[in-house]
C-alpha cells in the first residue's frame, strides 16, 4: 500500500502529498474495520434472536433466505431488517428540537466506531498503535452517553427524558468502577498499549491471563460493560414496561436503527476489550502444537464470540434491575471492591522479589 505514496507526492507536491496519502490510507483501513464490524452487528442481532429463541424453546427467525435456499432459512433476516429500516420514514415529533434530534444518533454511533481505531486484532494488525490506547478507549466509551442524553432531551417527551436521565447517571456511575478495573490491568502490564497488555499475558497457558490474578476485576469490568451498553439486566434507560422505550421512544426508521447499531457495536467492543485485557487476546489457551497452529485471529474471534454469548445469555436469564439497585451495585459494591483490589495489588507488587518467588504457584508477579 505504501507504494502509492510517490504517486500522491507527484500529484500534490511533497508538502501536501504525505499527509493526503496518510489520510487516504487511513480511510481505507477504517473502512476495512467498519464494514466487517457492521456485518458482525447485523448478524449479532440474528444470533441474539436465534439464541434467545432456543433458550425459550422457540424457533426464532427462519423464513427469509437467500435465493430461496431452504437451509439458509432466517439468514437473510438481518438484511431484510436493514432494508426495512432504510425504507421507513424518520418521523420528527412536532415539539422536538430538530437539529439535536438528528444529531443524537450520530453522536451515539461515532464514539462506538471511533474506539475501534486502537483495538489490535493480532500483534501486527492494528490501525493506530498508540501508547495511551487504554485511556483513549475510556475516553471514547465515556462519550457515548451524549447521544442518549441529547436524544432524550431533544425528543421533548417525558418518557424519553426520564430514560436519558437514568442512562446518564448509570453510565457515569459504572464508568468509575470500569476505570478502576482497568487501572488494575495497567498495573499488571505496566503499559497502556493494548498490544503490550496482550503480550504481558503470554507465558504458556491460560493461567497467565489476567482473568486469573484479577478475577474480581474481570467480573467487575464485564458487568460494568453490560451496564455501560445499557443492556439487560441494566436496561432501565429503555425499560419497555416502565417508560415505553426510554430515550429512543420517538425515533423511527434509520435514526432508530443507528441507535440500535451503536448499542450492538458497543457490545462487540466491550466483548473485544474483555478478551484482550483479561482473556489473553489472540493467545491460545495452551501454547502447544494443535492450539498454537490455529491463526491468532481465530482465537480472538472465538473469545469475543464467547463474551457476546454471555451478553445474550444474561438477556434471556435475568429480570431487569430496579433503578436504586443498579446504583447500589455500582457505588456500594463495585467501587469498594475495585478500590480494595487496587491497594491489595499494589501491596503485592511492592513485595520484595524473594518473597514473591517463594509463593507457591506464583505465575504472575
Amino acid at each position: 500500500m505504501d507504494s502509492f505514496q510517490p504517486l500522491f507526492e507527484q500529484l500534490f507536491g511533497s508538502e501536501w502529498g504525505v499527509p493526503l496519502f496518510l489520510l487516504a490510507k487511513n480511510l481505507l483501513l477504517i473502512l476495512a474495520i467498519i464494514i466487517p464490524l457492521l456485518l458482525a452487528v447485523a448478524y449479532l442481532t440474528f444470533a441474539e434472536r436465534k439464541i434467545i429463541a432456543f433458550m425459550q424453546v422457540r424457533v426464532g427467525p427462519n423464513r427469509v433466505t437467500f435465493f430461496g435456499i431452504p437451509w439458509l432459512g432466517g439468514w437473510g433476516q438481518p438484511i431484510a431488517d436493514a432494508v426495512k429500516a432504510i425504507m421507513k420514514e424518520i418521523i420528527i415529533p412536532t415539539g422536538a428540537n430538530k437539529f439535536l434530534f438528528l444529531l443524537a444518533p450520530i453522536l451515539a454511533i461515532t464514539p462506538a466506531l471511533a474506539a475501534w481505531a486502537v483495538v489490535p486484532f493480532s500483534p501486527e494488525l492494528v490501525l493506530a498503535d498508540i501508547n495511551a490506547a487504554l485511556l483513549y478507549i475510556l475516553a471514547m466509551t465515556s462519550l457515548g452517553v451524549y447521544g442518549v442524553i441529547i436524544a432524550g432531551w431533544a425528543s421533548n417527551s417525558k418518557y424519553a427524558f426520564l430514560g436519558a436521565m437514568r442512562s446518564a447517571a448509570q453510565v457515569i456511575s459504572y464508568e468509575l468502577a470500569m476505570g478502576f478495573a482497568l487501572v488494575c490491568v495497567l498495573m499488571m502490564s505496566s503499559s497502556l498499549n493494548l498490544g503490550d497488555i496482550v503480550a504481558g499475558q503470554q507465558g504458556g497457558s491460560f493461567l497467565n491471563w489476567y482473568m486469573i490474578p484479577l478475577f474480581p476485576m474481570f467480573l467487575v469490568y464485564f458487568i460494568s460493560g453490560v451496564a455501560e451498553t445499557n443492556r439487560l439486566p441494566f436496561d432501565v434507560a429503555e425499560g419497555e414496561s416502565e417508560i415505553v422505550a426510554g430515550f429512543h421512544v420517538d425515533y423511527s426508521g434509520m435514526a432508530f436503527t443507528i441507535f440500535f447499531l451503536a448499542e450492538y457495536a458497543n457490545m462487540i467492543l466491550v466483548a473485544t476489550l474483555t478478551s484482550i485485557m483479561f482473556l489473553g487476546g489472540w493467545l491460545p489457551p495452551v501454547d502447544i502444537a494443535p492450539f498454537n497452529l490455529i491463526p491468532s485471529i481465530v482465537w480472538l474471534l472465538l473469545k469475543i464470540a464467547i463474551m457476546l454469548f454471555f451478553f445474550l445469555w444474561f438477556r434471556a436469564t435475568f429480570p431487569r434491575y430496579r433503578y436504586d439497585q443498579i446504583m447500589r451495585l455500582g457505588w456500594k459494591v463495585f467501587i469498594p471492591i475495585t478500590l480494595i483490589w487496587i491497594v491489595l495489588l499494589g501491596a503485592v507488587m511492592q513485595l520484595p522479589e524473594a518473597a514473591l518467588q517463594s509463593f507457591p504457584l506464583n505465575l504472575w508477579f
Binding site: L135, L138, S142, I149, A168, I172
Partner: protein, 201 residues
C-alpha cells in the same frame, strides 16, 4: 509543517467559535454542548503539542463526566432567559470598557519580548515510544507527591461537603433495604408444611 498549521488553525477556529457560542447563544443546552465541543477541540490542540495524556484526560474527565452532569442539570432547569438578560444593555458599556482594557493589557503582556519565539524555544520532538503518561506519573508520585496528596485531600473535602450539605435523613419515605433483601433465606419467606391428603367425600 503546513499540514500541522492547517490542523492547528482549523481546531483553533472551532475552539474560538464554539467558545463565543457558549456565551452568546440563547438556549443553555446549546451553550453546554458547545462547551463540550470546545473541550474536545482543545484536547485536539493538546494532542498537537504531544501532550496525549492531558488531552485524553480532558476528554475523560471533563467531557465524559463533568459536562454530562452539567448537561443533566441544565436540561432540568427552567431558566427564564429574558429575566436574566434584563439590564444587559444598561451595563454593557461598563463591561465593554473593562473588557477592552483587559484585552489591551493582556495583549501588551503576551506580545512582549518575554513570550516571543526567540526566548521561548520550541521543545524538541520526542521519539514515538516516549510515553508522556509515564513521565507524568513519575513526576506526580515523586517530586509532586505533596501537592498530589493535597489535591486528594481537597477532593475529600469536596465529598464531605457535598454529602454534609445534601444528605438529609427523611423519615417519611419508604425504601427497601437491599442488603437485607439479598440476605433473605428461604426459611423466612416460605414454610413447607406437611398436610395429610384429604379424603374425597
Amino acid at each position: 509543517m503546513i499540514f500541522q498549521d492547517f490542523v492547528f488553525y482549523s481546531l483553533a477556529s472551532v475552539v474560538i467559535i464554539s467558545a463565543l457560542g457558549v456565551i452568546t447563544l440563547r438556549n443553555p443546552v446549546y451553550s453546554v454542548l458547545l462547551l463540550v465541543l470546545a473541550f474536545v477541540t482543545s484536547s485536539g490542540l493538546w494532542l498537537l503539542l504531544e501532550a496525549e495524556f492531558l488531552a485524553i484526560a480532558l476528554v475523560v474527565v471533563y467531557v465524559g463526566a463533568v459536562m454530562v452532569l452539567f448537561l443533566f442539570v441544565v436540561m432540568m432547569l427552567d431558566i427564564n432567559l429574558d429575566q436574566m438578560r434584563e439590564g444587559f444593555w444598561k451595563w454593557f458599556p461598563f463591561g465593554a470598557i473593562l473588557a477592552f482594557i483587559m484585552t489591551v493589557e493582556m495583549s501588551m503582556v503576551l506580545m512582549s519580548k518575554q513570550f516571543s519565539s526567540e526566548i521561548i524555544q520550541t521543545p524538541e520532538y520526542k521519539s514515538v515510544d516516549y510515553s508522556n503518561t509515564k513521565e507524568l506519573g513519575r513526576l506526580i508520585y515523586t517530586e509532586y507527591v505533596y501537592v498530589f496528596e493535597l489535591a486528594a485531600v481537597i477532593l475529600l473535602v469536596a465529598m464531605v461537603a457535598a454529602i454534609a450539605i445534601t444528605l438529609r435523613h427523611r423519615t417519611d419515605k419508604k425504601s427497601s433495604n437491599a442488603s437485607r433483601q439479598i440476605a433473605v433465606s428461604r426459611n423466612e419467606r416460605l414454610k413447607v408444611i406437611s398436610m395429610p391428603a384429604e379424603k374425597k367425600e
